[in-house]
């Protein structure tokens, strides 16, 4: 039997894994980005909350994702809190990548010319509107390539969720490759599918880049 033939026969596994990955990725990345923006807002306000949050973000950056997922999924039940694999996985992804998004935005905020912020303050913008209308759009435009990196990392991190038994793309490939012993072929398919998603991401980011370029944000 030909290896590709075997793959074709188990395509259902791959398709459902791919769809699971897409759903996980889509939901978690939207959640994580929103969480990241919210965290950046809290950081922007300063004070004790910001300092605590900064510590939390650094904690997330230090903690391996796997261990976070482990703690949520295997650690919490011993405290009597039991979550489904999907809930635990989604929460882990959102919190973890949210922290990274926040760090990216914070880094860009450090070098955002203060004049723009002062102009808005002088016009009487409340902190929230100032953040939403003046700061955030510029941060997002300026950190576009970094956000792209993070999206792709988040995409691949969905694969860690195999350990908490969410059947996504990598799980499907592992299972197929271990069962039928076709490691290379299975992984070629996986890479191709991940690549497909990340090309999609890259194209949409490139499309979004025109938005920044028209405003003179991209000097080459």
């Amino acid at each position: 039997m030909n290896e590709w033939q075997i793959l074709w026969d188990v395509r259902a596994t791959f398709v459902s894994g791919f769809l699971n990955t897409l759903v996980l990725f889509g939901v978690s990345v939207c959640g994580a980005f929103a969480a990241g923006c919210a965290m950046t807002y809290v950081l922007e306000q300063g004070g004790i909350a910001a300092r605590v949050l900064r510590g939390f973000i650094n904690g997330m950056r230090m903690l391996p994702f796997l261990i976070l997922a482990y703690l949520l999924y295997y650690g919490l039940p011993s405290l009597g809190l039991r979550m489904s694999a999907w809930t635990a996985g989604l929460i882990a992804l959102v919190v973890y990548h949210g922290a990274y998004f926040a760090e990216i935005l914070r880094g860009t905020r450090l070098v955002l010319p203060e004049g723009y912020v002062e102009a808005a303050k002088a016009h009487g913008f409340t902190p929230f509107r100032l953040f939403r209308r003046i700061i955030l759009p510029q941060l997002v435009i300026r950190s576009r390539p970094l956000l792209g990196n993070q999206l792709i990392i988040a995409l691949k991190d969905t694969a860690f969720l195999t350990i908490i038994t969410v059947q996504e793309l990598t799980a499907a490939a592992n299972s197929a490759s271990a069962t039928y012993f076709i490691p290379m072929e299975a992984f070629v398919v996986v890479i191709a599918l991940y690549w497909l998603i990340s090309i999609g991401l890259e194209l949409s980011l490139r499309w979004a880049a025109r938005f920044g370029a028209r405003r003179g944000f991209e000097n080459v």
């Binding site: 808005a120 002088a122 016009h123 409340t126 902190p127 510029q138 003179g216």
Partner: protein, 251 residues
Amino acid sequence: MSDIPAVRIDRLSKSFDGVEVLRDIDLVVNKGEVVSVLGSSGSGKSTMLRCINWLEEPDRGSVFIAGERIGVDPSGRRMKNRELARIRARTGMVFQGFNLWPHLNVLQNVMESPIQVKGMAREQARAIAVALLEKVGMEHKQDAFPYTLSGGQKQRVAIARALAMSPEVILFDEPTSALDPERVGEVLQVMKNLSGEGYTMIVVTHEMEFARAVSDQVVFLDKGRIIEKSAPDIFFSNPETERVRRFLELS
């Protein structure tokens, strides 16, 4: 007009890294008055304006906008940002560096604050913005983004942006520095009209002509101190201090 001054500054001091940039500034600006602030480069003019709307937090002293203390609430603590924003919305500012928002085009730059701060309807904000841009001669660049504008064009948009909020007090930091004489004339005319309409203005400027013609008060800053504060006719014809005399001679 009521007898509460539009702006009152009491014993304001500010230092950067141990160097005193403002020392014991006292100033009362009544409603509808135009105050010109003169002084040499680095004398603290911009810093004073920035302290008035609390962009810079002074070390000592207090500032009242229409009787309301800015930056510090009645109980003596730092004001909440939301409160601060409410008071700031009553003042407008034109920055020395313009600080147009780069992600918004000219029209959006002008419309943004009325919509976001005052909650004005889009259509109304647009009408006001277009009218103001016409006033400063920038209506043809409505859709341009700031980075494509010339220095003078940016400055004119910045002026329109500050006026769009129709604030009670407007702080101008060298509003005509990047303009050619023609434009200077036009912009000063706009400002004169505003003063006629009862707006209160504090204007940092190097245009002696303007200071003489429009102001009700001229303030001269030297090394962070107000060393003269008088009506323009007295200031220009018969200054008290040797320092001002020298300054006027050279201009």
